[in-house]
Amino acid sequence: MASHAYAQNQTVTGKISGKDDGLPIAGATVSVKGTRTRTQTSADGRFTLSVPSGSVLVVSYIGYKSAEVSARSVTNISLEPDNNDLTEVTIVVPYGTAKKQTFTGSAASLNAAALEKRAVSNPLTALAGIAPGIQVNPPTGQPGAAPAIRVRGFGSINASNDPLIIVDGVQYEGALSSINSDDIDNISVLKDAASTALYGAKAANGVIIVSTKKGRNGAGVLNVKVTEGLISRGVPEYDRLDAYQYYPVEWQAYRNSLVYAASNPLSIADASTIASGLGTRNAAGQQVLNGRTYLDISQTLGSLIQNGVYTQSNNPFNVASNQIVDVNGNLNPAAQLRYNDLDWLKETLRASDRKDYNINYSGGTDKTDYFASVGYVNEKGFAQKSDFDRITARINVNHQATSWFKTGLNMAGSAAETNRTATASTSYVNPFFFSRNIGPIYNVYAHNPVTGEQLFDVLGNRVYDTGGLTALGVPSRAGGASPGRHVLQELLLNDDSFKRNIFSTRAYAEITFLKDFKFTVNGSADFNNAYFSSYQNQIVGDGAPGGRSSREAIFTTTYNLNELLNYSKSFGLHNLSVLAGHENYSKLIDDLNGSRNTQLLSGNTEFTNFTTTSGLSSFKDRDRSEGYLAQLNYDYDQKYLFSASVRRDASSRFAKDVRNAYFWSVGAGWRLDREEFMKSASWVNLLKLRSSYGLTGNYQTLDANLDPNYYPTLALYDVNNNALEPGFTQSTTTSNAALKWEVNKTLDIGLEFGLFNNRLSGSVEVYDRRSSNLLFAVPLPVSSGLVTQYQNVGTMYNRGLEINLSGSPFRGRDFSWNIDFNATTNKNRITKMPADQPEIISGSKKLMVGHSLYDYYMRIYKGVDPTDGSALYVPVDGATGTTLRTVNGVVYTTSTTNAKLDYTGDSSIPDVFGALSNAFTYKKFTLSMMVNYQLGGKIYDTNYASLMSVSSYGNALHTDILKSWKQAGDITDVPRLDPVNSTNLYAGSSRWLTSASYLYFRNATLSYSLPKELLSKLTVKKASVYVGGENLFLISGRKGMDPTQNFNGTVTNAYVPQRILSFGVNFSL
């Protein structure tokens, strides 16, 4: 700004710097109090301004407290950082921003500073622990995987519980892993109806708003970030038996199966002889007793059958195969392992790392601002054949063309490639499933069973032992050890990958008119193109021997257009703003997928190289909605706050005559700290009481695979051709033309406070979220031939208390310490069920009035009968028959079919969960860390159940199985080992429930800001180095059990979350 030469003016020069680091602040505004005279500091923090004598200068910059000083010819000012000033915070809300001080809703946010040092490929992962009421499960270890998020409990039973995600003002359909974390300015999580109701029908599960960075008025700045990380396994494996422990246990299981056989049982002596392999043999190498043929334990664990004769058996030891376990069940003390390749886990993992490079530059003038970035992430997973590689670029330009017209464009592109592994829990090519469950006696590489020597192929490579190499004279594996499969060989030979290219663009035009009005048109187009490839090889596994390939291309195009009219005006102390708008949303999914088999040339996995088409299909899906919205915000002197909003929504998922619905909210707040009677309490910086109530909707109907169901109201037939004849069959989900929105009514009451110069701040909130018209997938009788029908029945509530406390126990010149603590309780109850299905059993849960949707309902396990090691269950009412028995005066059943299904009294929902964060600053060092915790609730640990079940031979076993019942009189809670009776002995029951409490050290960062004396020589404005860690350790109810996998308390053989240790450098030029 030019200075004018008035006689009484003086020229002031100076430098603005930050008190925290002493660095110059570029782009700070220096103005003359009470005038329009102002300027901005240059890149080195300097300014020059001509001002009237005796003026007062006001200096302001975001993130710092404003300062006022009297103008002198040289005025250097250092600004105090504003770490805790709640009054200045703006929060991102639907269709705009709001000042936190006058906001009547409940929201939490995460800013760029908190994100930039986190090694997260999906930015939402960083939401874990930031505020109460938000549950964020860490993503699986698959690089690029997304976390699961729940806001204030579980509002829906069969429709989606995922929050709505908005990116730069528009509902986002792409993967968040396609967004560069360093492009993000802010992520807001909106929890209550007052915050979310403007998104009406889509807002019931909460809203997450991601805003990307903009340039700021001032000299440009260029930031560079380089991070290198080491990735390892974040959760340890379960404790499992080694080969020496395993063999006698399997012997015992086999012996018991002969003794407790349903027909023709053997005596213990005979069974022991047979199991050890000391009986008389026939020509086929089987033992014969009483005219029946039997195998021994080593044959049972693996056999080589040549021309009908059992010639070899599984024997990893250096003693004869009938000398491994004696007739008393003891391992031969002379037995030593012959092999060192029995550890499948080790073979499927690898050293892995993460690289993250970013460069961005931004700046602006009075009229135009810009932000541009390029980023690259490469993450190698710690399991073989899993990685994530992403290039992102973004440019965001805003231009104030005239005083009344402003426009802007924000374009981002990303190209990601991923190799996946462990996509299905019990797939043979899932290294976690396979290595967890294969017995510790099976070789990764093939050996000559006689000499023990490794086998090599003609090229001199080791031969993988697929557990079925009969042709090479290698014994097969037992049925429980995935015979014929080889996870490592398959992973290395197969492909399972996808590419995702996202091009995302936002543009707007804003017209200001009649002084207080603003009309904005926002348009967006998101192009999300994904291409999935998979190949199964010709040598081993599902594709062998032909080889097969499949491809799927999914093109998703989303357009969103909204027109918004704003009116904002202050009348004295009355502040009023009104918003009205209209919005269209349209998504089109184009899908093409095919598969071919029988490969011609090896090495080429393209379709042309296969002979037979085994599948080929295509389809389109459309999802559309339209809404009209209006909002009013009013406050009196920022003391009495009021807001109201309404939205009418219509979705293509519902039928014409029922698809329109109104959603609304009202909110009110009272800033007690601004009242006269509080003036004397100077220690109170903020005291706000607020409340909101509103109606929001959920339309996210899902199919049985939990994929979106875009047509829940239509009666449909699937195309199902009969060979070459055209064919139709009924869809198993039947129609309901009357289906409409699921509705949430949410009441929120909160108290926000800042005390003692904001050294202690926080909030206490209660919420009552009532879901009704639930989009209930009501199960139909199986005898109807149909499976489910969506009906609007049922009600449920989530009620909870949220506490958030932030404190600064120590704030010194060199040292400061901040603590954040939050805790949430959520009580979920079903209050109404479908009239004709008042009790719905769904897996390990039963839905019923008076219970939560995650209350366990299953057989009740009551321990072990000491007489024969049978598992005991509570019997069904009125049960009779031979499966009942009385132990210590109580009647139990030993049969799963006679066992009563009942509520166990447990739920997967914890009593309380939250996070504790600490940040320490000492001079130029900052250490921050966060621990997530959860107390109460139960996990149904099916991984453990599988390791505790000898339902077939050859599967790995947990060390707890050593406590199993062995002989009459044994007192234990682990039943007899006996594969033939496994259905009853190891049935799904309350036996597998384990405490869900955990302590998860989610992340820590130690950073160091380089001194400016050093930097100024290098013309570097700012630089820091840091080390960080994600998922550092987990303490859970059982080693190996990850209680954060699913909110419903189930576990799978998912890719174990990764631990990342990273080292990074940040600098600004």
Binding site: G291, Y628, A650, N722, A723, V782, E839, V980
Partner: protein
């Protein structure tokens, strides 16, 4: 609302969307051509994958039936598929996957046929076209109810009240909870539907292909029903009628060369009813041939080739073509095992998959040979010895050029016919229901069953284990259902 006046609204049909790969139900019964497609879809359900790879429609139920008999031997547990059925564990487990699958699969057929029976009336088309569709739909509804009542209820006892609980009779498209009808009522309805099918299919134009039920097939189904009801006079007459109808439609017993060709082509002139499976209709591990063939490269076949009961095998004449279907030596290189597949004595090569890498293949649901055997059995049980010997002779001589017309009578003749039946229909899904309808015990002794695999050698006749339990999913969703004795 005020804003709607100043802000643009979308086009009126903006929110009208429909899937592109599915058809609206209201379009399916507009014409008889479309209704016929709905009937084609019912046949497709017989080889569609349900919840897991052991649930491949009719083919999996066929495997179940042999797994629960004594004639199919699992030499090892392989990778465990179907072993719990073999051990009679799965069908006693209310949460058993296979127990639910068969129930759901047959009711899905019934539901689709109900829609066709109701929908075809309003379709545009000729009465002749409607008759064909209607007839096939009635027949399939009867077939499904018949299979269900055989699995989930106590057997039908001729001359008894048969008031024991059968299965729900689903006869309309109305979705409602249905109680279990009595066994008598189910058989009455099955016969009534079959009669309706016969009425409608009599005199209609020749079917497009063998996947469709025609008059001969309905008569064959009805003969099976009569056998299950121990109504041997009807069974004999219906089997003969089915045979006559089939032969009139140019069916004939296959040649010995065809007999060893792999049972995988519905061009085989002996097949009366079966499906043709083509490559792109998804077949990997749920196809019949993924478990029962000699050559498909699945872990199951490599490690657990399906064998015949050695005691049954030993009763087959050396000159019988069927003797060639099994290898008692485990050394016959003509048995094309997949790479690294084991050879085990008495393994079969009756069934050949398309190739080691493609499991698809055509599958027979009814063959002419069975008609002769049903007729012979029914006649023998009626004491019409000569007729029975003649009926048996036709098929037995076809299989064995050295076969001499039986001179046996009474029980000896019946036993001979039953041995012929077991050898002829091995692996085709008959043995469990044969044991049950004849009230025989399961007896796996004295043969090549491995104790640690089969685990169950004896089950007395009439044991509760012959009734499959009603799946818990049905009881949970339909409180009118009473469970079988556990």
């Amino acid at each position: 609302m005020a804003v709607s006046a100043i802000l643009p609204a979308c086009k009126k049909d903006f929110l009208e969307t429909a899937p592109t790969a599915q058809a609206p139900a209201e379009n399916v019964f507009t014409t008889t051509a479309n209704a016929a497609a709905a009937m084609n879809g019912v046949y497709r359900l017989m080889y569609t994958a349900y919840a897991d790879q052991g649930q491949g429609g009719e083919s999996s139920v066929m495997i179940d039936m042999d797994m629960m008999g004594e004639d199919l031997v699992n030499p090892t547990v392989g990778n465990n598929w179907f072993i719990s059925l073999h051990r009679y564990i799965e069908t006693r487990n209310v949460s058993g996957a296979q127990t639910l699958f068969a129930y759901r699969y047959y009711y899905r057929i019934i539901s689709n046929t109900n829609a066709i029976i109701e929908g075809v009336e309003g379709a545009t088309g000729t009465e002749a076209e409607k008759k064909a569709i209607r007839g096939e739909a009635y027949a399939m509804r009867a077939y499904a109810h018949f299979k269900l009542v055989q699995l989930y209820a106590e057997r039908y006892v001729a001359g008894g009240a048969n008031a024991q609980l059968g299965v729900p009779l689903s006869l309309t498209t109305k979705i409602e909870k249905l109680p279990r009808a009595t066994v008598a009522a189910v058989y009455t309805q099955v016969n009534s539907d079959l009669d309706a099918a016969i009425t409608n299919l009599t005199g209609v134009a020749a079917r497009a292909n063998k996947s469709h039920i025609n008059l001969a097939v309905v008569q064959g189904i009805k003969a099976r029903v009569a056998l299950a009801m121990q109504d041997y006079a009807s069974a004999a007459a219906l089997a003969a009628a089915a045979r006559t109808s089939a032969i009139a439609g140019s069916a004939s017993l296959m040649s010995n060369a065809d007999y060893t060709a792999g049972f995988n082509s519905y061009a085989n002139n002996e097949w009366m009813w079966g499906i043709s499976q083509i490559a792109d209709q998804g077949t990997f591990f749920y196809s019949f041939f993924a478990y029962m063939s000699v050559n498909f490269n699945s872990t199951n076949i490599r490690s657990n080739p399906k064998c015949i009961n050695s005691a049954l095998y030993n009763q087959i004449s050396a000159t019988d073509v069927r003797k060639k279907l099994w290898d008692p030596t485990a050394r016959d290189a003509a048995f094309l095992v997949p790479p690294s597949g084991v050879r085990i004595a008495y393994m079969n090569r009756k069934f050949l998959a398309n190739s080691a890498s493609n499991s698809y293949g055509d599958l027979a649901f009814m063959r002419l040979g069975e008609m002769y055997l049903m007729e012979a059995e029914a006649l023998a049980r009626l004491g019409r010895t000569t007729e029975a010997q003649n009926a048996l002779y036709t098929v037995a001589f076809n299989r064995d050029p050295s076969y001499v017309r039986s001179t046996r009578t009474g029980t000896a003749l019946i036993d001979e016919i039953m041995i012929q039946r077991r050898a002829e229909l091995w692996g085709e899904g008959f043995r469990f229901t044969d044991l049950k309808r004849l009230n025989l015990p399961l007896n796996r002794n004295g043969a090549n069953h491995v104790a640690s695999v089969a685990t169950v050698f004896d089950i007395p006749a009439g044991d509760p284990r012959f009734q499959w339990v009603i799946p818990i999913a049905e009881i949970n969703s339909n409180n009118l259902i009473v469970q079988n004795p556990l």
